[in-house]
Amino acid sequence: MPLSRSLTLPLLTLALVGLLAMVLSVGVGSVALSPVQVGAALLGEGSNLHQTLVLELRLPRTLAAFATGGLLAVAGALMQVLLRNPLADPYVLGLSGGAAVGALLAMLAGLGGVIVSGSAFAGALLATLMVFGLAHGTGSWTPSRLLLTGVVVAAGWGAVITLILAISPTQRLPGMLYWLMGDVSYARTPWPALILLVLACLLVLPLGRSLNVLARGPMQAAALGVSVRPLEWLIYVLASLLTAAAVTTAGSIGFVGLVVPHMLRLMLGNDQRLILPACALAGGTLLVLADTLARVVIAPEQLPVGVITALLGVPTFLYLLYRSR
């Protein structure tokens, strides 16, 4: 039942699980820390080594992973409502392709750090505008038209990415591949992504019921008092921005935006007022755990986290699809 008390329990549970995942993530590594030691370091106690390890190395990365996962999952849930297609995900409209081309071009030019991120962000926004402009065409856009345009444009980006990889000098390839698979170690600071995630959640909460109605189709939504066109624009711009921020933080990480909203819908129903904040928490938790795995599986080497999410995501998704009617 969509009543306030039925929202609290799932969200509190998810928040608790997220917190535990973060403590685990901060504790695990070359120097293992117990939850007590993690807590002590957070409070400014314990040894200097522990404090540096927790506050400067592990915690920022964990928070960045959480924010990225949350952004991707919320963006996915929004895209699925916008396109009224359960298979939509944040990348389906060619966003990650645009971001990847931006980032790889910067890497090809031998640039690093902030410029790669900025270039990725610019690429993502360019891709968004392109898809929207093309889908809009001379008439109005429909979900299927938007989806088709996005898929075709994404294929175009794919070709450009392959081209860049083919002409890049060999020593730059590992960095590029890691970026393409998504890697939280690129994150320099978690704060912009985290703040955006919180702001997005606050923004979509009062829209939740309108989104529930929009999920029934635009005509039904309009008949029930939703201003459909402005709402659709808002979701589109917001989802694009969230995805661009996520891609900029940690490269293109697949499947979080597709799988997390799906799992939550199967468990919690499809009330957006619950699903959207739940996506922020569960998406964050999933990526924190995946990133922890990515750090320890072949330690001291690290795997790109996108490999883990895809390896977990593909079978999970297939299972959900198989189970559903």
Partner: protein, 256 residues
Amino acid sequence: MNPLQVRQLVIDIPGRASGQALDFTVEPGQIWGVLGPNGAGKTTLLHTLAGLRAPRSGDILLGAESLAGLKRRTVSRQLGLVFQDRQDGFPATVMETALIGRHPWLSPWQMEGGEDLAMAEKALAVMDVSHLADRLVNTLSGGERQRVAIATVLTQNPGTWLLDEPTNHLDLHHQVAVMNLLKQQASEGRAVFMCLHDLNLAARWCDHLLLLYPSGDACWGPAGRMLVPSALESLYGQRLITTELDGAPVFVPVRS
């Protein structure tokens, strides 16, 4: 409630001549039926009256104000629309579906309260679908879905009901139940405006009729004046046998 006033309205059907402009008022307590063959523009008319499509020309007034100038939310507190077909992209339960009828009445931060829940429960009971409350809508039969859709508008509680083929998919008993419900709504001071395929339902329950021809021509008026066999025969391009039963005219198509 505010009467729905249609002023010199021409609905926009691409490639069709404008035909006759519609000009009538749906007053509280009236039940209007729209009759016409496939493709005559019944659904387009209904969507235009609901403000979901722009007319080619003319105006629709809700009380004193033009529909086009009103906020969607204000409109949807006064006009409820039962669609002919529904798309359900995501699974939702029958109860959730009925509850979205409360959307126009709740502020963005408001959750559905006990009163809203009670209204939805009552609507489900009236439509005889209470036992399906927890079922997913996409697992229901066509007729059950139709009753859920009507329950949603019952929960919405508008002053004017617009319905597109409300008896679609319904068995005989539920057809009569729905028409009686609409009659009751009208007797409580609401207005009903619906597209119908069944001449005989229209003849028995509607007090006003609008005949919509594929050419764009139209005529309207009190049901007694509109139920002329020759006019109906030319409307459908079908010869009819007319008789009277149970105090209402009955039209049967001629075989061959």
